[in-house]
Symmetry: C2
Subunit: 449 residues, 2 copies
């Protein structure tokens, strides 16, 4: 009776279901870093590389290079839309208007292009390499990771019947809702968390579902509430979702900045190398102020970073913990702030490393009243399908996919991190960095996601 | 771009979303009993009544009489469709063709009408009464129960947001699938179960979902399998679903037959009253043979029924247990069969009283190899939303709704049952029946559903 003939024909004919449909479908900090790079390092050439730290999974056997290239090419022909640029120009981020300069937005509109890339296979793994100007390479990170992650999802979903798909999503929703119920606990005060799950998400639509579920369940949406009972869900790192759903875009910066600056400084003296980790902060501070001053001190080891930090560093707004036990790292940061005459209760502590709901609650309870704690909830928010597969297979479990800068102006980059499993770079360079920064290899848990 | 204007306008304009959309949307045994009544008791006048045994729930405060009447009137103007009558005429039920006589189908098509009814409210409860020719009253039972049950569901759903609805169904599906996983246990052999959940279902669509899930998960659908590993899901009591999905229609007869025959005999001697419970079997046997010869011995107490049963009763195919502990009742039936020289392994034992997956497995393991056990899974298949409500309310939990014959030709009907909580009828009549049948009031659990 009521057949939509056009829709039916369209559904049978479409050629590509794009994973990334807008250049805003990236973490907000990539755009902040892009402006920083455009302004300060416009001529630096870099390479970066996607790797799968979950080596037991032979990813190339699940995701074919042609499908990957098709999706990458789709992203490469995307342009920032006029409405997106207007939003970037006019919106308020972290309480500040005009964070993006008109000249940068003009460049984004007219000159920005993603770099070339290569896709190859090695020992069952896909190898994805990007090289070119840093400003043309940097945004690839999130697009590429999200594409690989969702292609892996699609390959697994293609094995399932309609009923099995239905069961799968019922289970994942039940799981998500059970977590959200924990986070709704009315006895909690001041809880603050955000979505950091773009790069390893199950799919774009699932991330969007998770974000909408969190907002509706954890925020007042205009209802009256106690002063301390602010909205618990503070926003999303995903710029497209922030734009589409009127949420705060969350995030500041990542390891690629200190890694690149260290590589560029590494041709000089050991002291120049050591100081590069603070040089990046000076430059960042020139570009951005206010709430965007979030330290990421673990690139070459947190302890040495804090001990040797010049006075201006303790004026920064807060710290993000990405590789150390958050309890240890938070206590260390609080003690350091106090030793520098700072009041930790006016500072922010952001945990973002493999968190799940119970750990978020544990950390909130541990730090509440001592420092402004907030959680960046990533892969276990947007891709927790563990045990949900209707045939008990593990094909929908998240991988520890990463995209790391491997060189800057031809010099290899290094990351030591507080977790030796997360160290990257050539062995000889790692050894030199360890000596220079005085960072001993410690033991830590292997990253789950 | 691609708006379906017609659909959108239609969705905003519709006046009634019918709950019962076909006269086949009833338990198959109602149709078997209808033919039996049409043939043998075409002039008997009866009354029957819907009651809510879960009295703590004030149903009339949730379901309004106008909405109920609107749905009832919709059913009353339905007719058996030509294609449905062709299917009833030509299909094979329990391996037998032409179970329905041409004259009966002709009557169904041209003369069958549902009786008049009244809807009133008493002490927070809805009171629904039907009176008229037995053949015009009997089918109301399942339509009315399913309508009340789904109207209650709709009232609860109307309180929920789209997201809450999504969460609710995710939880219910996860629950259902967890149960089905139990029933898929590959170490089991010969498991047999069917859907008996029409009358207290959450909704028609949910029952359909449950039935399709069971069929796809538990049946081979044409794949090769071990001889003993037959399809575990043997069919549904719902005739409309059996028709629509090519499933076996399951069911034989219910308490209303012995209740009415006892009432009609009760003007005579005690012995005539006592013998009426076997008289109904003789008449049934004249109408139907083969697998349709399933005893329902608990109307006036199972033990007395078996002890005094004439020889022909032990030739019947099996027994349905509806109010006694199935382990006790099954053992009793097996011992009785052996005492009558029958091989229990050639007989069928059907449990149908408030079962859930774990009890089905328990009973299967207990009886497997001793008798052909099968389970009629009802309310906890098609309406298990316990604990699924997103705000923790109990408005979606199933009620113990029943529809019982209250009189035949002006004489009150009585059911004693093996569970005194399920006894119905005027106290004086119950007392006489207990004396005549020698059935002592025993104690038993209150029915959950």
């Amino acid at each position: 009776m009521n057949v939509n003939f056009a829709e039916r024909a369209h559904n049978h004919n479409w050629k590509l279901d794009p994973i990334v449909r807008s250049l805003l479908d990236t973490d907000f900090y990539k755009l902040l870093m892009l402006q920083f790079i455009w302004k300060n390092f416009s001529q630096v050439q870099v390479t970066s590389e996607v790797t799968n730290r979950t080596v037991r999974v032979r990813l190339a056997e699940r995701v074919g290079a042609p499908a990957l290239i098709e999706q990458m090419e789709h992203v490469r022909q995307l342009r920032f839309r006029r409405s997106e640029l207007v939003w970037l120009a006019g919106n308020t981020f972290y309480g500040t208007r005009w964070i993006f300069e008109p000249a940068f937005l003009d460049w984004l509109e007219h000159e920005f292009r993603l770099s070339a890339y290569t896709v190859s296979e090695h020992d069952g793994q896909l190898v994805l390499r990007f090289s070119g100007l840093w400003s043309a390479v940097t945004l690839w990170e999130v697009y590429a990771l999200a594409i690989v992650s969702e292609l892996k999802t699609r390959a697994a979903l293609a094995e399932l019947s309609e009923l099995e798909l239905d069961v799968l999503y019922a289970r994942a929703k039940t799981r998500l809702w059970d977590k959200i119920e924990l986070l709704r606990d009315p006895s909690l005060h001041g809880l603050s968390l955000s979505d950091f799950g773009t790069r390893r998400r199950h799919s774009f639509l699932w991330q969007e579902y998770c974000v909408q579920a969190m907002r509706r369940a954890l925020n007042s949406n205009g209802r009256a509430s106690e002063p301390e009972d602010q909205d618990r869900f503070s926003g999303t790192s995903n710029t497209a979702l922030a734009y589409k759903h009127d949420l705060e875009a969350i995030g500041t910066n990542a390891h690629e900045l200190p890694m690149a600056l260290a590589a560029l400084a590494s041709r000089g003296s050991d002291d120049e190398l050591r100081q590069s980790q603070y040089r990046v902060l000076e430059l960042w501070q020139q570009s951005y102020g206010g709430s965007l001053l979030i330290l990421l001190p673990d690139t070459f080891g947190t302890t040495q970073f804090l001990q040797a930090a010049p006075p201006f560093v303790s004026d920064w707004t807060g710290q993000r913990i990405d590789s150390k036990d958050p309890v240890v790292a938070g206590d260390e940061y609080i003690a350091w702030l106090e030793s520098r005459g700072q009041d930790p209760r006016r500072k922010r502590l952001i945990a973002s490393d493999g968190l799940d709901a119970e750990e978020i609650l544990h950390l909130h309870r541990y730090f509440h009243g001592r420092i402004r704690f907030s959680a960046g909830w990533g892969t276990l928010l947007t891709n927790d399908f563990r045990g949900c597969h209707p045939r008990g297979e593990d094909t929908l479990e998240p991988l520890s996919l990463v995209c790391k800068l491997t060189s800057a102006d031809g010099i290899p980059t290094v990351k030591l991190s507080d977790n030796p499993h997360k160290a990257t770079g050539p062995a000889a360079e790692i050894a030199r960095y360890r000596r220079v920064f005085g960072t001993e290899p410690t033991t830590g848990p292997e990253p789950v996601v």
